[in-house]
Structures are given as structure tokens and as C-alpha cells.
């Protein structure tokens, strides 16, 4: 079994002004300090479990109303209002008592995203507290945290933290005298990106192949083990304690209209200070990339940014000023996604980058729906031949004709996710593809994103 890590990550977490009123620090308290995961540190230094006590003295439905008032939107990618999702859970009737479950999605696998890892590493109690509040609001019997298999050391840390909460009486039977029984179990995934999709995650949690289910029935009706279930992302649940502490209306004032609160953005790729930055929603992208992350690390101009994890359509120079929230990114033809920015400089060949991304989707497609399984593979094959100088004149039209046949034709959004980078690359950097087909070589020189040893 892996030991608890003693070596901190070297990404950046903080910047001048972080923690002030302008840039509130709600989720990264104590980030960078490896002792921060202990219950006593969380309680003494970070107002830990204050929100939970407040929530347990409130009626469950009032807690849901508070989250609704905060305007919190799901941080996993789709941006669905969290309070509304919670209110979909069926209630007990005099004739029928239901067993409800709360599932936390910690299957962080979206390329470019590494925010949940930081919450789990430095602030696991905030997630546990959020899960207790969520469990109380929906009157759940159990909470499950599904974490990707590679995070073994974080799973062990979270389990240790859960045990501390149990010992303190925050989990188990009759929590703080409310008569409510609730516990949290951690479940380890086994390396499948698709399990980040909520119904695939539920299948995996039940010990099955991680194939997405047909919806309806939605998880709120028939979820884990056939019972009503709500699935929330790690970051969404970690945002709940600050909401309860400061009040929904107060939280709603942070960020931009209809996109309230702070969000953890991860910046990776060609920047000087890659890392994790918690910022109010609606912060302009160029402020994050240029000011906080230090701009291009290579001295070359930045060519493209993927604004929210690999599934989001790329943005080019003219959109670098976009305020980063769900609605504004959507208006510019991209998505808020999971908040992971991937920055690419001028030396990057977009054909190679797109091929690398599509290869990921072809590899991770679960194979259940034909459009995604076959479509992703065909996109990969066509891109592969373009990249290797065997592109044909009709290839770009072929690629463009493939995406509408994959998108919105599958059970889950993995197929759509593959179309995002493909369509945007073709639309914004078509000249690079054309250059590749005519000249049989890259338009941009100096980038080599693909290795010579066999791909999987």
C-alpha cells in the first residue's frame, strides 16, 4: 500500500492578492501544505465543519434552497445547477421509505484537468463536509466517493480523513444527535476515462463494465444499486461548505451573473507557471494565462488555448479575452468544461495535437455505441495519414462529414467530446491541415507530440 506522500507537488497554487475579497480563497485553503489534510488543522484554521453543524440544524429542504440560491453550477463539465439536481431526488412518502445515495465523481481523467487531485491532496475534509451536507439535504443513507485508480495515495489519504471524521462523530450512527445515520465509502476505479460519465460511473461502482446507461431512467430515479442517486463532482461538493457558511445569497454575489462562485482552473502546457488557480467565475482568460501563469514559457506566441479540458473546442487568438464562465465560453463556441486550460504555442502543429486528442477518444470509447466507436477510429485513421504525409485532397471534407454523424448520436457525451477538438481545429486552423496534405509536412515547425514507439 502506498504511503501518504511527503513530497508536495510543485505547481503553483497562489498569486498576489489571492485570498482577498477580489479573489476569495474558498476551496484551496492550505494548498501546498501536506499536513493540511488533518481534521484538527481543518477545524482550527479553516472554519472546518462549521457549515456542517449549521446545515444539520436546518431542515434538509432549506439546505437545498440555500444551494439553489447560491446558483452553484456543477463543476464536472456540464454546468448543471447543483441545487436543482438535488431537488430532483424523490422524497419519502408515508407508504414508501427510500434508500438514497450520494455519489461523488472523482474519476478525474479529462486531459488538462488536475483540480480534484489538489482538493483531495490538501483539503479532503472539505469534500467530506460537503458530502455530509449533501447527504443531509437529500437524506441519503450512504455516500460513495468514486476515485480513479491511479490516485491510490489520495484514496488512502481520503480514507484516513474519513476515519478521523468518523472518530469525531461526524459520520456513522445518529450524527450529532440528529438521529440520522450516514457513512462514506471510497471506491477505486481501474483506469477508464468513460467512468467519469455519471451512469458509467454507477455501473462501475456496481462492479460492472463502465458502459453508460440509457437515460431515462435518470440516476435520481434509478441510480446506484437501483436506488435514487445524485452524482456530483468533487469540486461541486467541496463548494458546498463555503456556501452554507456564508449563505447562498452572499455566494451568488461572487463571479458573473448566472455563473456564481469561484472555480478552480488548471493551466498546463506552454506557460511559465503551470498550476492551479482558484478564481471567480467570469475572470478573463488572458488575465489567467498572461498575468497569473506568466504567459508563454517558450518565448513564442500563444497560438491556441483549449479552455476547459481536452473535450472543449479550441480557441484562437481573437477569443483569448473571453470571460471564463459557462455562458460566455459557450457564446464563443467552446465550453466551460472541467476548467483545465491547455496552452499551445506557435510551434505546435495543430494536426498532431488533434491526432493526439482523437487518439485518446478512440482509445477511451467504451465501444457500446457504433457512431463513437467507429467514428473516433476513422477520424484517427484519417488524421494519421494526413500527419504522415499521405493525406488525400478529399480528407478534410471526409473529416468534416464524420463529426455530425457522431455528435448527439450516442448514449453519452464522449462522442460529442471527440467532435469538439476536431471541428474547432478544422474550422480555425484549416490552413495547417491543407498545408499538411499539399506539402506532406507540418505547417508549424519544431513540435513533436507523437513518439516513434508503438502506440497503444
Amino acid at each position: 500500500m502506498a504511503a501518504i506522500r511527503t513530497k508536495p507537488d510543485h505547481h503553483t497554487y497562489t498569486f498576489p492578492g489571492f485570498g482577498s475579497e477580489k479573489f476569495p480563497n474558498l476551496m484551496l485553503r492550505g494548498a501546498g501544505d501536506l499536513n493540511n489534510w488533518h481534521l484538527k488543522v481543518y477545524e482550527q484554521q479553516h472554519e472546518g465543519y462549521v457549515a456542517m453543524r449549521k446545515a444539520l440544524q436546518t431542515e434538509p429542504v432549506a439546505v437545498i434552497d440555500e444551494v439553489k440560491a447560491s446558483g452553484l453550477r456543477g463543476r464536472g463539465g456540464a454546468g448543471f445547477p447543483a441545487g436543482l439536481k438535488w431537488s430532483f431526488m424523490p422524497k419519502d412518502t408515508p407508504e414508501r421509505k427510500l434508500t438514497r445515495y450520494l455519489v461523488c465523481n472523482g474519476d478525474e481523467g479529462e486531459p488538462g484537468t488536475f483540480k480534484d487531485r489538489v482538493i483531495l491532496e490538501y483539503n479532503p475534509h472539505q469534500l467530506i463536509e460537503g458530502m455530509i451536507i449533501g447527504g443531509w439535504a437529500m437524506q441519503c443513507a450512504m455516500g460513495y466517493v468514486y476515485i480513479r485508480g491511479e490516485f491510490l495515495w489520495l484514496i488512502e489519504k481520503l480514507e484516513a480523513a474519513i476515519q478521523q471524521a468518523r472518530d469525531a462523530g461526524y459520520l456513522g450512527k445518529n450524527i450529532l444527535g440528529t438521529g440520522w445515520d450516514y457513512d462514506i465509502l471510497v471506491y477505486r476505479g481501474a483506469g477508464a476515462y468513460i467512468c467519469g460519465e455519471e451512469t458509467a460511473l454507477l455501473n462501475s461502482l456496481e462492479g460492472r463494465r463502465g458502459e453508460p446507461r440509457v437515460k431515462p431512467p435518470f440516476p435520481a430515479v434509478k441510480g446506484a444499486f437501483g436506488q435514487p442517486t445524485t452524482v456530483n463532482n468533487v469540486e461541486t461538493l467541496a463548494a458546498v461548505p463555503p456556501i452554507m457558511r456564508m449563505g447562498g445569497a452572499e455566494y451568488a454575489k461572487i463571479g458573473s451573473p448566472k455563473n456564481s462562485g469561484t472555480r478552480i482552473f488548471g493551466v498546463s502546457g506552454h506557460v511559465k507557471r503551470p498550476g492551479i488557480y482558484e478564481l471567480p467565475m467570469g475572470t478573463p482568460m488572458n488575465f489567467l494565462v498572461e498575468e497569473l501563469a506568466g504567459g508563454s514559457s517558450t518565448g513564442r506566441k500563444i497560438k491556441a488555448i483549449i479552455p476547459g479540458g481536452a473535450s472543449c473546442p479550441m480557441l484562437d487568438e481573437k477569443d483569448f479575452d473571453v470571460p471564463m464562465d459557462f455562458d460566455n465560453l459557450k457564446a464563443r463556441g467552446s465550453m466551460g468544461g472541467s476548467g483545465g486550460l491547455i496552452v499551445m504555442d506557435e510551434s505546435v502543429c495543430i494536426v498532431q495535437a488533434t491526432l493526439r486528442l482523437i487518439r485518446f477518444y478512440a482509445h477511451e470509447s467504451c465501444g457500446q455505441c457504433t457512431p463513437c466507436r467507429e467514428g473516433c477510429n476513422w477520424m484517427q485513421l484519417v488524421l494519421h495519414r494526413i500527419e504522415h504525409g499521405q493525406g488525400r485532397p478529399g480528407d478534410l471534407d471526409l473529416l468534416a462529414s464524420l463529426t455530425p454523424r457522431i455528435g448527439m448520436r450516442t448514449l453519452c457525451p464522449l462522442g460529442d467530446a471527440a467532435c469538439g477538438p476536431m471541428d474547432s481545429a478544422l474550422q480555425k486552423f484549416r490552413h495547417e491541415f491543407e498545408h499538411h496534405i499539399t506539402h506532406k509536412t507540418c505547417y508549424a515547425t519544431g513540435s513533436r507530440l507523437l513518439s516513434n514507439v508503438g502506440a497503444h
Binding site: P111, R148, A190, G207, R208, S451, V453, H456
Partner: protein, 191 residues
């Protein structure tokens, strides 16, 4: 799926199960059985123990062989076909033997922008292993190309068995990790 499998000709097509490699070990230890039974009791449905039991099998058998899958099905009391389906779906269950130190190199976009392709080549060169071709002759190393390890901010990153090493930008750092493996500073596979 990139795992090496027994020789197959067009005249003699193997059944899916026959493509898997066999392990020396055939059954669980009593401690492992007790461990799996404890996990089964935690969940409303015993099938939920499939994934954790396969990890235990991987630890005990060294990799998830057909015998390991049968043993899991046997302990939990579920169909073998179900366990086979699950074990072959997830990439973290190794269906063929791996080396004492299994290098999993992320080559996805964020890592690739910071030299993951070159890193993978260096790992292969230094260990003398080709991904998907089984471990090195001395059984020390094996290499696998994996998708995002969620270490994009400290790219490029490599997972050796269960531990993640990041920012392996220069070759010296890789050599350092390999030397530490040889010295026995890190836990070998399946321990």
C-alpha cells in the same frame, strides 16, 4: 488493448479466454478470500466487490490471469463471464505479466507539449523494452503508454507501479528514478 498474447494463426483462431496468459498461481490465499468477503459485505450488492477483488487478484497473482478471474468469480459467486468482461474492460488490470517496475508514461496532450513523446522514447531506450511487448528479459522493467494521469501542471509525468513521478523533463531525473528502483527504494510491482 496492447497486451502481448499467445501466438495465433489464421487457421487456428483462439477463443478470447485462450489469448490470455496463464499464471503459476491458481487460487487465492485464505487472507485474500477473507479480504474480498469483507468488501462484499460493505455494499448492497456483492457484485460491487468485482473491481476491488480484481485488484487483490492482481496483487496476489502478479497480473490478472484467466485463473485469477476464475478465482474472483468463485469467491464472489458471480459468473466467470462477468469477471472476464470487467477485467478486460479496465486498463489498470494487467492481463499479462509486467516487470518488477512498471513504467506508465502519460503521452496525452499536456504532457506531450512538454516532451512526453521524447520521454517515452528515452524510457524505452534505457529499459530496452517496447510497450506492449512484455517485460525486459531480466524481468526488471516494463513500459506502457497511458492516458492522462491528472498531473498536467507538472508534466511530463510517469507512474512507476503505484507512485507518480512528475516533471521528468530532463533525462537525469529519469535516471534518478531508475537508479532508486534498482536500489530497492521503491516497492516492486504487486507489493
Amino acid at each position: 488493448m496492447s497486451h502481448a498474447h499467445p501466438h495465433e494463426t489464421s487457421n487456428e483462431v483462439l477463443a478470447p479466454g485462450q489469448r490470455l496468459q496463464e499464471s503459476e498461481r491458481k487460487a487465492f490465499s485464505p487472507e485474500a478470500v477473507a479480504e474480498i468477503q469483507a468488501i462484499m459485505a460493505q455494499y448492497p450488492d456483492k457484485m460491487a466487490a468485482t473491481l476491488p477483488a480484481l485488484y487483490i487478484a492482481q496483487r496476489e497473482f502478479g497480473f490478472v490471469s484467466l485463473a485469477a478471474m476464475r478465482a474472483v468469480a468463485d469467491v464472489i459467486g458471480i459468473p466467470e463471464a462477468h469477471v472476464f468482461g470487467v477485467a478486460t474492460f479496465y486498463t489498470m488490470y494487467q492481463k499479462a505479466p509486467v516487470g518488477k517496475f512498471h513504467f506508465q508514461v502519460c503521452t496525452n496532450i499536456s504532457c506531450a507539449l512538454r516532451g512526453a513523446a521524447q520521454l517515452l522514447e528515452k524510457v524505452c531506450e534505457r529499459t530496452g523494452v517496447t510497450p506492449g511487448q512484455g517485460p525486459s528479459p531480466d524481468g526488471m522493467w516494463s513500459v506502457e503508454e497511458v492516458e492522462c494521469l491528472a498531473g498536467c501542471g507538472v508534466a511530463p509525468c510517469v507512474q512507476v507501479n503505484q507512485d507518480v513521478y512528475d516533471e521528468l523533463v530532463d533525462e537525469d531525473k529519469l535516471v534518478e528514478v531508475m537508479e532508486a528502483c534498482k536500489r530497492g527504494d521503491y516497492r516492486p510491482w504487486a507489493h
